[in-house]
């Protein structure tokens, strides 16, 4: 017979053993797409910070695929991560090899129920492409100068992690994916009830180092990933929109992300979203929509303030704001006004480029006109050459006449373009003019950063409100992933 005391000892013993037996795994990947000639990468600080986490996590099984041949970065990897950590380059082959390795470990029960597996991704991330649910990141193979598409870099898609996510769920291994790259909000698509996903930015925004660094620093024993995320987000002042796959975050993101999107944009000659945004939002209809978006955002801010206001009655009723977002509203108003002026300047530029008095000359057979932009950028010489070659292949007179009509059109358009450029040489600087307009707004990284700091208060208030409205039994993968 076992006494009650023995039963209790056995029970706690089992629990303790369970904790002692479970293992933690960490896979760190990324740091690709950087200039080959540089000794460092922009990810060095976050690499140090995640390495520090491994130092304070005894027994954690670490695999690092970050090496891109940058001497200083390589030194950090070699000296800061545990000696027994596996270290390799981050090329497409490495990525596939690592996925295959962890897949085999899950299949062969080397990773078992109760274990925890975190994948920490930090590198250059591309905008989402149609064929993927998430997005792609650069490997170390090539550098990219275009931080939106990462054209030129070798890319690997994070959808490939789904196989690990699904296996982990099946095996009861708790999983987390941290994606600190640009446009990493797209990785939220990888989350499920067993896998927590944290993103360093929204799907349409660049990400910046400090969030990844703060996240790694906040990884402290006893916390769960939701707590780590909220702590890191609170400290972050970069113009991004960090996300986590909890139900509360999903509801706040649905309420806030689209409305906040333009207020994190500014002109940057190396990594720009402002010119494209202004190009796409310069019509009267879009200006009107931006105005409605602004009003809706102010309503949301007012709501957050109202739920954080205490009413007290003594001789009379007083209301005390526990959350004052007046500064945020001021900043957003200034920003919105400046963007409206820029959109109108873009319209003005369009009007200059339409050159309505040329309408007859450039009217096509379908009563459409070439815009001046089209007139300036079309390769008429190639079109004339190709069309002339086609004349010999044309099988009917009617076909030949139509081709001749096109050749005549291209010749006239080319001639007119040359005259226009002679009389208005400034027209050859269309791109420069658009950039000039984008630069003329009050939006700078520093203003966006000031907005971001205020937005953190708004997000926190809405997040806490969303948490309260959830059923207490609602669990989530991020709370379940405990350090």
């Amino acid at each position: 017979m076992i006494s009650n005391c023995q039963k209790i000892t056995l029970f706690f013993g089992l629990i303790m053993s369970q904790t002692a037996w479970s293992s933690n795994y960490l896979l760190v990947i990324g740091a690709g797409g950087e200039d080959k000639d540089k000794q460092t990468t922009i990810f060095d600080q976050s690499i140090k910070d995640i390495a520090d986490y491994t130092k304070r996590s005894p027994g954690i099984k670490v695999n690092v695929a970050l090496n891109g041949g940058h001497a200083v970065t390589q030194e950090i990897i070699n000296s800061q991560f545990p000696e027994n950590a596996e270290k390799s380059h981050f090329l497409e082959a490495d990525y596939k090899r690592l996925i295959a390795k962890y897949k085999a470990m899950l299949e062969n029960n080397e990773m078992v129920s109760g274990d925890q597996f975190m994948i920490y991704v930090n590198g250059h991330g591309a905008l989402k492409q149609n064929e993927f649910d998430s997005h792609s990141i650069a490997t170390s193979a090539n550098e990219s100068k275009d931080y939106n598409t990462l054209k030129g870099a070798e890319l690997v898609d994070l959808d490939q992690l789904k196989i690990l996510r699904d296996l982990a769920k099946k095996k009861g291994v708790k999983m987390a994916i941290f994606d600190g790259s640009c446009h990493s909000g797209n990785s939220q698509a990888l989350a499920d009830e067993n896998t927590c996903v944290v993103s360093g930015s929204g799907p349409n925004h660049f990400a910046y180092g400090p969030f990844s660094e703060n996240f790694a620093k906040a990884l402290q024993k006893g916390k769960n990933l939701e707590e780590v995320f909220l702590e890191a987000r609170d400290k972050d002042d970069t113009p991004a929109f960090p996300m986590i796959s909890t139900p509360a975050s999903q509801s706040v993101t649905a309420l806030l992300y689209e409305k906040m999107t333009p207020y994190f944009y500014h002109f940057d000659e190396h990594a720009d979203k402002m010119v494209t945004y202004l190009e796409e939002n310069r019509s009267n209809q879009k200006i009107c929509m931006a105005y409605q978006n602004f009003n809706s955002l102010i309503e949301t801010i007012n709501f957050a303030e109202s739920i954080n206001t205490v009413t007290s009655s003594f001789f009379w009723t007083t209301k005390t704001k526990l959350l004052d977002l007046t500064h945020l509203k001021d900043l957003l108003t200034q920003y919105k006004n400046s963007m409206e002026i820029a959109a109108l300047k873009m319209q003005e530029l369009d009007n200059q480029l339409k050159f309505d008095h040329l309408q007859n000359l450039f009217q096509t057979n379908y009563n459409e006109n070439y815009s001046l932009k089209e007139l300036l950028t079309t390769d008429f010489d190639k079109l004339i050459q190709d069309s002339t070659n086609r004349l010999t292949l044309a099988s009917t007179n009617s076909e030949r006449e139509k081709i001749k009509g096109n050749i005549s059109f291209y010749n006239r358009a080319k001639e007119k373009r040359n005259l226009l450029l002679r009389d208005h040489p400034e027209l050859s600087f269309l791109k420069d003019k658009q950039e000039e307009i984008a630069k003329s707004t009050i939006a700078t990284y520093y203003l966006n950063s000031e907005i971001a700091l205020e937005e953190r208060k708004l997000y926190k208030a809405l997040y806490e409100n969303a948490q309260k409205s959830q059923a207490p039994t609602t669990g989530n993968a991020c709370q379940n992933f405990k350090l």
């Binding site: 149609n130 096509t364 379908y366 079309t378 390769d379 190709d386 086609r390």
Partner: protein
Amino acid sequence: MRFLSLLSLFLINSTSALTHWSGFEGCGTYKVQGVAQSSKKGVLIVVNDKTQSEFEVAIPIENEVRLAPYIDQAIVAEVLINTPPKGSKIQGLIKTIKSRLPNPINPADTGMRLISKDKCE
């Protein structure tokens, strides 16, 4: 003889794989994502460029000037197809056209889908 028959069968099938488009869902307006190109054949849209499922969407000669400013660019266009394709020949009229961001990973990330049905002529 058997070898020649097999060879010709292979060649016929290879050609059709390169040029045949099996996505016709009736006449109407299609959203076409491809690349505008100019050649001796005219100005046209190439869909699934440089892949086994590459095919071309031709447009009437007089409508080519609408496509001309986008030569060698990735585009997305609304194309009205009012006659069923004859074999591998697809012809449609451009209703709207704009540039699109090409996919850096897969330059052949293009396609064609029906967005609104219409009567055939």
